[in-house]
Symmetry: C2
Subunit: 197 residues, 2 copies
Amino acid sequence: MTLALDNAAQDLLFREAHTAHAFTDEPVSDEQIRAIHDLVKYGPTAFNQSPLRITLVRSPEARERLVRQLSEGNRAKTAAAPLTAVLSVDLDFHERLPELAPHAPNLKDAFFSELSVREAAGSFNAAIQIGYFIVGVRAAGLAAGPMTGFDAEGINKEFFGDGRQKVLAVVNIGKPGPDAYRPRAPRLAYEDVVTTV
Amino acid sequence: MTLALDNAAQDLLFREAHTAHAFTDEPVSDEQIRAIHDLVKYGPTAFNQSPLRITLVRSPEARERLVRQLSEGNRAKTAAAPLTAVLSVDLDFHERLPELAPHAPNLKDAFFSELSVREAAGSFNAAIQIGYFIVGVRAAGLAAGPMTGFDAEGINKEFFGDGRQKVLAVVNIGKPGPDAYRPRAPRLAYEDVVTTV
């Protein structure tokens, strides 16, 4: 069974792509991140709520503050990565809904007035967008090194002091360096994942 | 700024792809879903935990049980879709970790013995996989109609009676029919999403 997507694109995005743990020194520019955003912004979210926010950690001072909040095994590779992005959910994403979902003008107040509802829906939809973002990094010819090993409260305090955003993942981005990849780990078989009723 | 991904693939997966609300009668085969799985299974998750499960709702009886749990606006289009998939998190995903993460043999017991930890990590990583899955449906030349408007407890009772799985999203899948698409809603600008520190 062939897919509509050509083989080179399948390889670039999934089959040959790996999580990278080491990168070359080649910088990652704002223009590259802009091109990724301009592609993956079209990925669907519920009511087009688009709650994912991206914080590019570029200054040495900010990188130091971030690295301190990572688990031991994630520190050295992040300190050495050309770019690291903190991916977070905007808990006030509903403020933009009148623009983002013009077909449902009452959504903001009718569905999302409660912070707890926004946090659940926003975190879920932002996680879906993290999937698109990782695909987008690869679409740019770069490798992604997503991590969840960190002190979330510590990152939130350091980077989102006003409480409006909450970190969901941290992603190193760059060209893969020597020994960037671990061996491909096994994947679940179709029969393990898919059931028909 | 150009991406490494070719324009046709960009269009297929993101730029020209839309959430579909109506489909042709053309069936979606198990082979097509198998090809999608065989592509997107490579998308990364934390510790390769791969918690997403897919239930293909094919029998008229199962479809009826599903449609009853959907919000009013999602019923008719789902009843008429060639295929509907219930996407869920496997709360016992950790049982497969010894195979999936052979580099971290103690993970299953050290990190994931608590159900509440598995539910949080599993739901987050399964949501990332939903992003990959939607991209995969499009990679197969099909349109996806993801929905979150349903009675989650009702679906869990109907389809996951043993409590091991929890529904996260329901996705209609097929070739887009006439009037399948709403007009493209606006997206957030780069400056609204990306901050540099």
